[in-house]
């Protein structure tokens, strides 16, 4: 058994603390810049940590990625440019609050929810990692398929005023996802001979284009603001605690959801945030309303899920060495290299190491609060600069971010194309978020469908054969029916639509 003392003594290393704080600052910075994502933050860290001692190496990535995932919310709220695909789910809600002047509220809520979601997942990790890992391993392609289709139904919740346009956007994303190598045979599809399209349209360049660049284009056509925006005024921490108490159920729910979804290998923070957002939208009476309270509930729920999924991803990672998402894949590799071989032997032979790693989760999510507030204030200060100066800098970062994903210039060209597409879409009231959802879930759904078909040799009944699979299947079908029925119902005050596009109708 491992004692608290043993863990604390490992943590009390000055070098380790320094590494944690440095990576936290680094993660916040990278995450807060539109165009740069949490995955990029982790990938750029690899050359440095690969030759570091094991514990600081793992601590660095854990901290940096947790900070970056939270920090992706900041540009989403303040600039309407989500820093990560997961933030895209609630960008409109958050930005809506900011436009009403509730900056501190929106950001503070997101911060405290993220921190709590992360803490919750750290708790689950510490107490139940091995047992939960076994459950996670029971998921085969059938279960993943249903999870993906269930995730698709979330698109209807961000469809905006028109279900048809939302569906069009969703199918656009799904269609874009088919470009590239076929997941089964590897035969190139719709690539027009270009090797750059062999992996399809990358999620990050499309995100940067559809959200960030299109927003820049929109701003370009409005009168250019030579003054800055007012910074988030007033206290952030204490009011956010009060907000937390009001929305404690939503946050707890988001945290648990996020942990569970994150624990499924291959289902990352993107899917976790979306599903949590959708549940908050439908299942909670508060979340359903178009009010500030409703928006806050949804933001907090999804933010909590976002960060919780990072912790959840470590469940299969540490117990079986199976990565929960792309970031944990990097972490597992680093752990192997450092001789911390994930697996039950790790829990048996060196429990102090693994529980120290879990403890770092706690530390990282606690450190998030003060550093996050600093980051938000800093961001607010930067926004006092004239927009005319900020927009070009944001564009440079978008270019840099797109390039750095895979070190290809092709991605840079893509943000231009998708930027224009996003601009046209929004002008015509086609929501952007379903397209991103389609791009995220399309490959997963196709792969799982195809591999399941291959395994069953064409027998469709396999989708309802397995216990978990059939339960998920029934839930999914019901969710879709419910979602469509609710959208087709005549609009009443409480029935939710996405907040009206602040830029639509600009003539």
């Amino acid at each position: 058994m491992v004692t608290l003392n043993a863990v604390l003594s490992q943590l009390a290393d000055g070098y380790l603390i320094l590494v944690i704080i440095a990576s936290a600052a680094y993660g916040l910075l990278i995450g807060a810049i539109p165009g740069l994502t949490a995955l990029l933050a982790s990938a750029l860290l690899v050359p440095f940590i690969i030759f570091m001692d094991p514990l600081p190496a793992v601590a660095a990535i854990i901290t940096a990625s947790a900070m970056a995932i939270f920090a992706g919310d900041i540009p989403g709220a303040l600039l309407r440019m989500p820093g990560t695909p997961a933030s895209a789910a609630y960008t409109d809600d958050a930005h809506g609050l900011v436009r009403k002047g509730e900056v501190a509220k929106a950001l503070g809520a997101g911060l405290i929810a993220s921190s709590l979601g992360g803490l919750l997942s750290a708790l689950v990790l510490t107490m139940a990692a091995p047992s939960l890992a076994r459950v996670a391993l029971a998921f085969s392609s059938v279960e993943y398929f249903w999870l993906g289709v269930l995730g698709l139904s979330c698109a209807t919740f961000v469809a905006g005023s028109s279900l048809w346009k939302g569906l069009a956007s969703l199918f656009l994303g799904l269609s874009l996802a088919t470009v590239g190598m076929d997941p089964i045979t590897g035969i190139p599809r719709f690539t027009l001979g270009s090797i750059n399209l062999l992996s399809g349209f990358g999620l990050i360049p499309v995100l940067i284009g559809l959200f960030a660049v299109s927003e820049l284009l929109r701003n370009a056509t409005a009168p250019m603001n030579m003054n800055g925006a007012p910074p988030p005024a007033g206290p952030i921490f204490l009011p956010s605690l009060r907000t937390l108490w009001r929305h404690k159920v939503g946050v707890a729910r988001g945290g648990l959801f996020g942990t569970m979804v994150g624990a499924l290998p291959g289902a990352g923070s993107d899917i976790a945030a979306w599903i949590s957002y959708a549940v908050a939208r439908r299942a909670s009476s508060r979340g359903r309303r178009q009010t500030d309270e409703g928006a806050t509930e949804r933001i907090m729920s999804a933010s909590a899920a976002n960060n919780a999924s990072l912790g959840g991803a470590y469940i299969p990672a540490t117990v079986f060495g199976i990565p929960g998402d792309a970031i944990t894949a990097i972490v597992i590799s680093v752990m192997f290299i450092k001789g911390i071989n994930p697996g039950p032997t790790l829990f048996l032979n060196s429990p102090d190491v693994i529980y120290t790693i879990f403890a770092i989760f706690f530390v990282a999510n606690l450190v998030m609060i003060p550093l996050g507030i600093l980051c938000m204030r800093g961001f607010g200060l930067i926004l006092r600069l004239p927009q005319a100066a900020i927009s070009p800098v944001v564009l440079i970062f978008c270019i840099l971010g797109a390039f750095s994903v895979e070190n290809t210039l092709f991605a840079v060209g893509m943000i231009g194309i998708f930027g224009f597409l996003g601009y046209v879409m929004e002008q015509n009231e086609y929501p952007l978020a379903p397209a991103i959802l389609g791009l995220i879930l399309g490959p997963m759904i196709e792969e799982t469908f195809m591999t399941t078909m291959l395994k069953s040799q064409g027998d469709l009944s396999i989708f309802f054969d397995r216990t978990i699979g059939s339960i998920l299947g029934v839930v999914t079908v019901l969710a879709w029916l419910l979602a469509i029925a609710l959208q087709l119902r005549p609009q009443r005050g409480e029935v939710a639509q996405a907040p009206a596009n602040p830029h639509s109708g600009t003539v």
Binding site: V46, L137, T185, S199, G321, I322, A329, N407
Partner: protein
């Protein structure tokens, strides 16, 4: 403008020019090493380890660039199309399947192979409670009914892990066109399917099964190498298990674009050899469970031709 300034400007301009010619003062500027996989993965680790050792021998930084798009096609294209001046090198790994699948046009003539540094043989793994106890029993079962087992390729199919396996089955007389080969998003995903009962067999490297094997959820049946691996003395080779001497798996080598000067290749090869032999590289690879295997540029040239032939044979039989 005084003479010193104009002289330095001219020197700078000349420097920018001569670096593109065949440089016998290699290296006089930073070298790019293109890795065709993402950061933090096995290939990335191998090449970063190697580059770090190489950097200490030459005086210039080696910039490791990850270009994993297209399953490695984009990265390979980048260095294959670069100037053969030794300043853009890259990872050479199994490539023949790209052309056969219509993804790219690489042949063994597209490269100037320099040296192999790593080879990880494929292995056959089944669930711990599987009815199969040996590779031979699997071969026999597949001979009778090729489509009866769900086989995970441990990644994309028509690649490193399944090609030696199919090669073995071809030799044993199995009708491989009917095999049920299923791709996965990496070996970890394939192993997860194994553990959840969704698959019968997983093809991957041995180190990738460490965690699940230690947890008692999977067992290794055979490895596609010439001799048993030091780290896994209990796993029989394919030859021991079935009598057919088939080897294969993934391998990683340093290469440049075609047309590099032989003297330059020798120089780079010597540097790589020194880095390979260094303690840092050897212990690093061993700790990670990767097989450090050396092949110089001539041996590598022959090897990649063999790889092309083996891949061609298998893919034709599979009907792609």
């Amino acid at each position: 403008m005084n003479k010193l300034t104009s002289a330095s400007i001219i020197a700078l301009a000349l420097g920018a020019g001569t670096a593109t010619a065949q440089d016998v003062n290699w290296p006089s500027q930073p070298v790019q090493m293109i890795v065709i996989a993402g950061a933090g993965g096995g290939s990335d680790f191998t090449f970063r380890l190697l580059s770090r050792e190489m950097e200490e021998l030459i005086d210039q930084p080696i910039s490791v660039v990850n270009q994993a798009q297209g399953g490695g096609v984009v990265g390979m294209t980048t260095y294959v199309n670069a100037e053969p001046d030794g300043y853009t090198l890259g990872q050479l790994s199994p490539f023949a399947q790209y052309k056969l699948l219509g993804q790219a046009d690489f042949t063994s003539d597209s490269y100037s192979p320099i040296a192999m540094v790593n080879m990880d043989p494929a292995a056959v793994t089944v669930a711990a409670d599987s009815e199969f106890d040996s590779l031979q029993s699997i071969v026999d079962t597949l001979k009778e009914d090729p489509a009866s087992l769900a086989i995970s390729c441990g990644g994309t199919c028509n690649a490193s892990w399944d090609i030696p396996f199919v090669s073995l089955l071809l030799d044993a007389g199995v009708n491989v066109g009917e095999l049920n080969l299923i791709p996965a998003k990496g070996s970890a995903a394939g192993l997860q399917e194994l553990a959840s009962g969704g698959m019968d067999i997983v093809l991957s490297s041995l180190p990738e099964t460490d965690s699940l094997r230690d947890a008692g959820m999977v067992k290794n049946l055979a490895v596609f190498s010439e001799e048993r691996l030091g780290r896994y003395p209990d796993v029989p080779t394919v030859e021991e298990a079935t009598g057919e001497a088939v080897t294969g798996g993934t391998w990683r080598a340093v290469s440049g674009p075609a047309g590099m000067d032989p003297a330059l290749i020798d120089r780079i090869e010597a540097t790589v050899k020194q880095a390979y032999d260094s303690e840092g590289f050897q212990t690093g690879m061993e700790e990670r469970g990767f097989g450090a295997v050396w092949m110089d540029s001539d041996a590598l040239s022959d090897f990649i031709r063999q790889h092309e032939e083996q891949t061609q044979r298998v893919l034709n039989e599979l009907g792609s």
